[in-house]
Structures are given as C-alpha cells and as structure tokens.
C-alpha cells in the first residue's frame, strides 16, 4: 500500500512537472512579449525596458523557467525600483492588472469556489443515486421511462441553459429564492446556503443525470448476476436485494467516476460562477483571460491541474477500497 502511494506520488510529481513546462511554454514563451502585456497599453520604451528587466525576460528561457519554479517552491523577490518586494512561496508572480500577488488573489476567491463545488458534489451524488435507485425499483414501468428521458435531457442541457431556466422560474416568476449573490459562510450560514441553493442545483442536475443513468445500468447488471438469483431462491426480500446487494455493486463505479469527473466539475463551476456572478476562481480565470493577465491564468491552470491529479489518486484508492477485486498496483 505505501509502495503504491510512493509510486503514485512520484508519478503525480512527474505529470505536474511536465504540465508546468508545457503551460510555461504556451503562456510565457509563445505569445511574443509578456513585458508589453505587463506594462499595459500606455507604455513608453523606457518603462518597457524596466518591466523586461524586472520580469527577468532578458535571461535565457530555461533560466526564466527555473525562476518560475523557484518562485513556486521558495518564493521570489521583485525589485520595484525603490526597493525589493518579496513574494512568498508558492509565488506565481504578480498580476499584470494590479500588481497583487496571484496567490493572494486566488486565496481570496477560493471560498466561493469551494462552497459551490462541495455542495454540488454532495447534491449530485444524492440526486444521481436516488434517481437511479428509483428507476431500478420501478423498472419496466412508466416512471422508469420518464426518468430515463429526463436524465437524457439533463445530460444534454448545458449549465447556463438550466441555470437560466431555474432562475426564471424560482427567482423571477415564483420568487421563492433570491437572485444568487455570494454571502461568505462565516458571515451568515443561513444566507450562504439560501443563496447557493440555485447554483448547487443547477450544476448538480447535470452530474446527477449522468450518475442516475450509470447507477441504474450497473444495478441492473448486478441484478442479472447469478448470486442475486441465488439470494432470491433463498427468499431474500426484493428490498434487501436492491438496497444491499445491487446498490453495493453500483458504489465502486460511482466512486471511480466521481474522481474522473473532477475535471468536468471544475469546468462546470467556471460556467456556474460566471452565470450567477459568484466571485470564485473560475470567474477570475475568465476575466483574466479577457484581460490577458497571464500570471493569473497560468496559476489557475496549474492549480487545477494539480487538483485533478490529486483527485485521481484519491479516486483510484477509494475505488480499490470499494471494490476488493481491484488490487492497488
């Protein structure tokens, strides 16, 4: 087990290093002149020279990359003309827009993104497994058909369409819910949950419909197996068969898929945050892309890459724990 983790950790570090090289090459080496972007639209040649010096753009590319890595692990000093400014590790540089440390900018926006994504995962697993279970209990019936078509429609519905529809219905027409705005959990937990409800449901619906289909199909598969037939012959109740045995067969694939879907969850939070105006990391990424604020873009992409790699390791481990037939290799 510990050997497995060592191997996976080494693999993860390697993947992250490769990603960092690729990301660095794409965003800092390819686009011509980062100094011009950092300097802004009104920039005289003298300022440009200073910025180039400050960002170390006169060094060879591999030295620049080395400084970039150094910044992440031990921090980085910037000369501001009058003195030096220390950027603590993990340092991804300073925003071109306002010269704030990128790490601070991300830290500011992390709570909103975490609020959104944790709630979404809980809700989509509950809804997904619940609907799948319902479809299996009522298999062959009209309800199952309806659930299948509904989940198909849910899968094909982009977040911003379902979000708009829900907002029109619950905020504008029925006026049951407030138009979502972010209230920090630490300020007012009740308002936090009340405001997050719509974003949670919006993003969870997409995942839930995929998970409902999968729960249903893997439970039906288990129900067709020999050992289930034996249980039936022994007189085990249908309730126990579905609730205990069939559901257990669905747990492992759901765990595996949740980890593998972590990436699409993050893409979804970006859309949801933008759509509801939640001040999260995803919304910041979109804005930074529009203003070509490269340090922020690079940091967010690296951070998300790291999160996905870690999520996959956790997912694989949980999968092996849920399904004893899978050995950790």
């Amino acid at each position: 087990m510990s050997l497995y983790f060592l191997r996976r950790a080494l693999g993860a570090v390697l993947v992250l290093l490769v990603i960092s090289v690729v990301v660095y090459a794409i965003f800092y080496v390819a686009p011509g002149d980062p100094a011009k972007l950092a300097c802004g639209p009104r920039c005289n040649p003298e300022q440009l020279r200073q910025v180039r010096e400050q960002l170390g753009l006169n060094d060879p590319v591999y030295v620049q990359y080395w400084h970039f890595l150094q910044g992440i692990f031990v921090g980085h000093d910037y000369s501001t003309g009058t003195g030096t400014m220390h950027c603590d590790a993990p340092c991804f540089g300073l925003s071109y827009q306002n010269n704030q440390q990128v790490t601070d900018l991300i830290a500011e926006r992390l709570p909103a993104t975490l609020s959104l994504s944790v709630g979404v995962v809980v809700l989509w697993l509950l809804l997904g497994v619940g609907i799948g279970l319902l479809a299996v209990v009522r298999r062959g019936g009209l309800l199952e058909r309806a659930l299948i078509w509904l989940s198909l429609a849910g899968t094909a519905t982009p977040v911003f369409v379902s979000g708009l529809a829900l907002m029109m219905l619950f905020c504008a027409y029925l006026e049951w819910l407030p138009f979502p705005s972010y209230v920090p959990l630490t300020d007012d937990p009740e308002q936090w949950a009340w405001n997050m409800l719509l974003p949670w449901v919006t993003l969870a619906l997409l995942g839930a419909s995929i998970y409902a289909r999968m729960t249903r199909s893997s439970m039906l598969e288990t129900l067709a197996e020999d050992h289930v037939r034996t249980f039936r012959a022994y007189g085990v109740s249908e309730r126990a068969i579905i609730g205990k045995h069939a559901l257990r067969g669905a747990v492992a694939p759901i765990v595996a898929m949740t980890a593998a879907d972590f990436g699409s969850l993050i893409g979804g939070t970006m859309l949801t945050e933008t759509m509801f105006g939640l001040p999260g990391v995803g919304q910041m990424l979109v804005r930074s892309v529009q203003t070509v604020d490269l340090p922020v873009v690079v940091a967010v992409v690296m951070l998300i890459g790291a999160a996905v790699v870690v999520a996959n390791i956790i997912g694989d481990t949980l999968y092996a724990l849920a399904d004893r037939r899978v050995a950790l290799r």
Binding site: G11, L14, V15, I19, I26, F27, A30, R139, G140, I148, W149, L152, A153, A156, T157, P158, V159, F160, V161, L164, A165, M168, A172, R213, R216, S217, L220, L223, A224, A256, M257, A259, A260, G263, S264, I266, G267, G268, M270, L271, T274, M275, G282, L285, V286, S288, V289, Q290, V292, V297, V300, V301, I304, G305, V308, V309, N312, G315, D316, R329
Partner: protein, 337 residues
C-alpha cells in the same frame, strides 16, 4: 503515469465493425430505430436552415446586423415592443432586446457558427486522435508509454478550463471561429485516442493483419491499408458524441465571452446577454436555449443509435428505444413477483 485515471476500461473492441456487417445492414438497423430517425430529421433540418440562412433571411426581408430602434421600447430599457419578444409578420421570431436586431436571422447564423465550429473541431480531433491512437498501438514501448501518458492526462484535465485559458495567448485579431476550431480540436481528443488505440490493438492480433505484416508490408502500409478501415466503426460512433460535445463547448466559450465575438451571432453569446433580459423578455432566453438543447440532444440520440446499428451486440447506453435490456429487466421483475 498511464494509470493517472486507470479506472475506466477502454471501449470494447469490435473487430468486425462497419466493413464486416455491411453498410446496407447498418443503414437498415439505423432506420429501424424511431428515435434515430427523429434525431436525423431534426439535424437534417438544422443543417438546411444553416446552409439556407442567407436565402431565408432574404425571404423574411431582414438581415443579421441592422438595428431597429423603433421596435424596442427605450422607456422600458429596450424591451421589444409587441407581444412575445416582438414577433410580427416582419420579424418572425421577434427582435433582440436593446438593439432590435432580427432574432430569426441571428439564430440561423448562430446555427451556422455552431455547426461550423463543431464540425471543424471534430475533424481536428479525429485527425489528432487517430494519429496518436494508431502510433500508440504500433509504436515501441517508449512511444506507447509516452502517448498513453499524454492521452490519459488530456482525458483527466478539465477541457473547458484549458480551452478558455488557451484563448488568452492568441492575438485578438485572429478569426474567432477558426480559433475555436483549433482550441477545441487540440484539447478534447483524449477519449477518442484511447478508443482508437484499443481498437487498433485488437485488430493487430487478427490474422489478416498478421498476414499483411508477414507479407512484408511496412508499418505505415499496414496502418493505412489494414487498420484504418477497421477503425471506421468506433470512430464514427464517437464522432456523434464529439459533435454534441463540441456544440456545447462552443456555446459555453461564447457564453463566457471568450468564444465567438460580436457582431457574429452565436447561441452561447445570446444566452449570455439573455442573463440580463430574462425578466423582461423571456423569449430571448427561450429561443437560443431551445436551439442549443435540441441540437445537442439530437446528436446524443443519433450517436447512441449509430453505435447500436454498427454493433447490434451493444446495448443502448441511453436506454431509449426498444432494447433487449428492457425486456430482460421486465423478465427479472416478473421473476421476482
């Protein structure tokens, strides 16, 4: 590294795909599914509408970019005058709030952009994925390991995030639809590459491929003449999925404001501006949303049908239409009662 997400099994190999079962048979099986027919009809209509956009615009007597200030009520913030978003004999689907541009024509041109980007990106994806997948299946251990690692990373990474980030480094004057084709195409090919590799590995073991190799065919020749035709079935199946996915990706990026730029119409962009109008002009939300939904759903249903038609042993993954599984499920329930 290859087991970054070593939890998903590669797609099942279907050694006797389209070529073996015969195109006519596939066609027959496809036609037998009602859901497939409806989906194909919807998509056919959509393509016709997109192709005929200039013609239909001329028929209506409107164009995509003329502002009609008289048709919006500036006292109410620019809401279209008249009922249902200003639907009239002149403007069949009403006008855009704020500007008064004709919605019917803008939706049609939006369909053009959507389909063009989706098809273009799919072509790039197929090209990259088939190359990578074949090379991984035929290459030596080093090449295989490297390409598998890259593929797994591409599958695990959040496509939308990467695609959005990539648009940051492209010069602003680069044509946006072409940019979307390239970005989506180069980011979202991992899944197909894995399918191609699995299929090619399965084909490699078959006798006719071994025979071709023993007869002295070069790797390139074997790949092109013996393996490529066998890849058609799984690739075709995956293409329907990619098209649906790409349409949503394009709409998402345009919604986020990093996709197609105004004044070029796009459904995602309309939905983005609709977020400020949905209280006063619901039609402006409903129309582009409906177009996007119907298109995406039609591709999904058609893809499921194509997969079953190409290999009847496969079960419907969507669970729509008549399938053995449903009958089996009924039987199980009957047995329990």
């Amino acid at each position: 590294m290859t087991d970054l997400i070593g939890t998903k099994e590669p797609e099942a190999v279907t050694p006797n795909g389209a070529a073996a079962s015969g195109a006519r048979q596939v066609w027959r099986r496809l036609r037998a599914r009602k859901s497939a027919l409806v989906a194909a009809a919807v998509l056919g209509l959509l393509v016709l509408l997109a192709l005929g956009a200039p013609l239909l615009a001329a028929l209506e007597g409107q164009d995509a970019n003329t502002y009609h200030d008289a048709l919006v009520d500036s006292a109410r913030g620019g809401v279209p005058t008249g009922s249902l978003g200003g639907i009239s004999a002149d403007h069949w689907l009403g006008v855009e709030p704020g500007t008064g541009r004709d919605l019917f024509v803008r939706l049609l041109y939006g369909a053009r952009v959507s389909l063009m980007v989706a098809v273009g990106a799919t072509l790039v994806q197929v090209l990259v994925a088939v190359t990578v997948g074949l090379a991984a299946a035929l290459g030596n251990r080093f090449v295989e390991g490297l390409l598998n690692g890259v593929t797994e990373v591409m599958i695990a990474m959040p496509l939308l995030v990467f695609a959005v980030a990539l648009t940051a480094v492209v010069p602003p004057d680069f044509p946006r639809p072409a940019l979307l084709v390239v970005v989506i195409g180069l980011v979202a090919w991992g899944g197909l590459a894995r399918v191609v590799r699995a299929q090619a590995l399965g084909l490699k073991k078959l006798d006719y491929v071994s025979a071709a190799r023993l007869a002295g065919g070069s790797t390139w020749r074997v790949a092109r003449r013996e393996l490529l035709p066998g890849l058609a079935a799984p690739v075709l199946t995956y293409v329907a999925y990619l098209l649906s996915n790409n349409i949503v990706l394009e709409a998402s990026m345009s919604f986020l404001g990093v996709g197609v730029k105004p004044p070029t119409p796009s459904w995602g962009q309309m939905l983005s501006s609709a977020t400020t109008w949905f209280r006063t002009d619901p039609m402006y939300v409903v129309l582009p949303a409906l177009m996007l939904l119907v298109t995406s759903l039609a591709f999904t249903v058609l893809g499921d049908a194509v997969r079953i038609a190409l290999d009847p042993r496969e079960k419907s993954r969507l669970g729509v239409g008549r399938s053995k599984k449903r009958r089996a499920a009924k039987k199980v329930k009957g047995g329990a009662a």
